[in-house]
Symmetry: C2
Subunit: 438 residues, 2 copies
């Protein structure tokens, strides 16, 4: 049984005439929808204003908390490359790693990932390791569907992307193991191990252990482990995953994982704090690279965050507040899809246990057309294909739905609009299929 | 007449015996100094706590200013890659460029410079331009003495550094023009055009115009124009320099300059806002690169800054307050050097009209030994050689003095200690010279 996808049941009409009548009915509903002149944006995993308000104390207490860390550092001045102790401790707690294995940085974990990739490209991932830019063609494994911004970093630097199928339990490890064992040019792999973007998949313990233990032809292979949704549960079941640093160390590959997370979807996106965790060797190497680029992160913002998040109890209460805002939006989309799409057996969609996305899978294609029709009807969706390397979904099946930002009412409206667009796109295709036109 | 250096006059004793007596006297004073057990740090251009207090309203008003920009953007959420309009307008004013030619970024202009260099290395500086990392050996011109962190970026990426002599009016342009005209591998040049780090030199109008107009063998040559001290005057004379963007555009090289500045030494170092200004083409190119690395800068910090700095009048009053704190520290160092060093004709030092540093030039060498002795006496100085590419000052002459952080009393003490160390180092050397030992 799939944790992730809710398969549709039943079916569309089978004969051409009935299909045409069905299409006309759906088109009429879609026209009425479009006539409402809505502007609904479901493109990005942006928290809603209601969620942002949860962080108000972070800004309000700004002047009350002063400017000194526990160790007396004046956060108003230069320095403090690894971040302030308080914030490192909070990230250590979130990631389940020792404090000295994590550094707190700027406002963007994406920027950290980009920084690690550029450092690997121009310097190599440690002493004696070659700069990837001098290794000829190099490749990254990209579990797909995946996160478009990961893929874009590869594209920026001409890193060849090798798609790997995603299952409910993470990437297909048989494929992964075969590829990395044979191909020395495979230097890295993108992973969102918990509540994966966009499928919500959670890497099973065996998957994490195999990733840690597998033999890689490249000695400088790295897992880019983007644990963006570590605390971002949508159900009572607070999913835990295996600790990648511990697994890799136990397997004799302590330097394999580069772990990332941030408070972007805990406090304020764009004004949060990002973190990097890794082995002692990797952190030493990264601090040398990081020290070339900056004199230090914004320690005052870290201090505000530490003050706001300090008690672990508060952090969990905060995430529970986020969940109370988010879960109904996910439920609204699913209720609409259950009602509008389930009867026709043309699509399935995820019921994620956490994270920010629902993946809608049009089983026989039509994603691009759906996104185009939706745009005409006033609903902006993530571009079709964005969830795949090079923006190319080979089967044109996957649509990423981001229900977090709109209001509950807007989300339900948008879901209805999307369902109508799916029906139009799929029925249009079916009418053009060989058996229908024959 | 030099604006920069105050030449010593008079001389040391000439015969060996008198020199030895003189050395013994100075060493005795230095021992007494060291016995006071001081710990004085003159390594970095760090603002003092008194200066940091000037920015208190920036933090205190944090909750009062809300979270919306003039154009209604919610600064608490993702997005806004070019920075908020208010902050771009403030930087446009500081740099004398149109608002749409400047973007406001994160907390570090060094990080922006590093980002521009990595983008040039891995992507090339614009469409059709080759990635510098695929151009074989490449070179940067490095006016020296210069800023160690600029040089360190080059070293990080194996960019060959070519020193260019600094004059009172900026880099020696005859040398610069000859080098860039002949050598296609010269891709860039570091410039601190106003109150240069560390000499305080101000680029003369003719220097700026020649930099803008000169023929370069490399089509993708770029000026890395670090205008860090645009408003950081130490005298009544508020020095203005030529506008590099205008000069380059007028000379038919609109894409040549990459201009940087920040509020690090206006508001809070490490928690300020950095800016990048350039041509429309360059900004479009950079926004494409920047958009791969981040979803946007910390707009809330920009909003706090805009609120604090908004009126140009306030900005100038603020810089005047900084000057009132800083100028006496510079004067204290100079008074001590005038008293302790001027009589012996062994050194000269700058009297900068702005910026954060005094350059002490030991005319016949001994900088490394001076720094070593100073460390033993409780004064940490910037490592000798740091002001030169690869940390190598070929004549071992230059010491960078950063008087901003210590108190006035500490600064005077430190200057006295430094002067004693200089005397010991120079007299020791002289006693070992061939004419003395013969």
């Amino acid at each position: 049984m799939s944790f992730r996808y809710q398969q549709s049941s039943s079916a569309l009409p089978e004969d051409r005439a009935s299909l045409q009548i069905f299409l006309a009915q759906v088109q009429k509903r879609l026209q009425a929808f479009a006539a409402r002149g809505l502007h609904l944006d479901m493109t990005r995993g942006k928290p809603s204003p209601e969620q942002l308000a949860l962080a108000a104390p972070l800004l309000e207490r700004s002047s009350a908390i002063g400017f000194r860390t526990v160790d007396g550092t004046d956060c108003r001045n230069y320095g403090g490359l690894p971040g302030i102790p308080e914030m490192r401790a909070i990230f250590a707690n979130i990631l389940g790693v020792p404090t000295d294995h994590v550094v707190a940085a700027g406002n963007s974990s994406l920027e950290l990932m980009h920084g690690l990739v550029t450092a690997a490209m121009l310097n190599g991932v440690g002493s004696g390791m070659p700069a990837w830019s001098r290794c000829g063609e190099i490749r990254f494994l990209c579990p797909a569907p995946g996160y478009d911004r990961h893929f874009r970093i590869c594209q920026e630097f001409g890193i060849d992307m090798v798609p790997v199928p995603m299952t409910d339990n993470g990437p297909d490890m048989d494929v992964v193991e075969r590829l990395v064992a044979d191909d020395e040019s495979i230097k890295g792999m993108w992973c969102v191990p918990k509540y994966s973007n966009p499928t919500g998949a959670v890497y099973a313990p065996s998957v994490v252990q195999r990733l840690a233990a597998m033999h890689t032809a490249a000695a400088d292979f790295r897992l880019f482990w983007d644990n963006a949704y570590a605390l971002h549960h949508l159900t009572d079941e607070m999913v835990e995953i295996e600790n990648i640093l511990e697994c890799c160390a136990a397997s004799g590959h302590p330097n394999r994982p580069f772990v990332f997370t941030s408070t972007s979807k805990i406090t304020l996106p764009g004004a949060g704090v990002a973190a990097f965790a890794s082995s002692s060797d990797n952190l030493r190497w990264w601090m040398e690279r990081y020290g070339v680029r900056t004199i230090g992160p914004d320690k005052l913002n870290q201090l505000r965050h530490a003050d706001f998040l300090e008690s672990a109890g508060h952090l969990h209460a905060l995430m529970e507040s986020h969940r109370r805002i988010l879960a109904p939006k996910f439920a609204a989309v699913q209720a609409v899809f259950d009602h509008e799409l389930a009867p026709y057996g043309i699509a399935r969609w995820t019921r994620p246990r956490g994270g920010y996305f629902i993946t809608l899978d049009l089983l026989s294609g039509g994603a691009q057309r759906t996104v185009d029709i939706a745009a005409e009807a006033g609903i902006v969706l993530t571009p079709a294909g964005a969830t795949h390397p090079y923006g190319r979904d080979p089967d044109d099946r996957i649509i990423r739905i981001a229900p977090s930002y709109p209001t509950n009412e807007e989300v339900a409206q948008a879901a209805e609009g999307v369902a109508l667009c799916v029906l139009v796109a799929v029925v249009e295709r079916r009418l053009l299929s060989p058996e229908m036109t024959a």
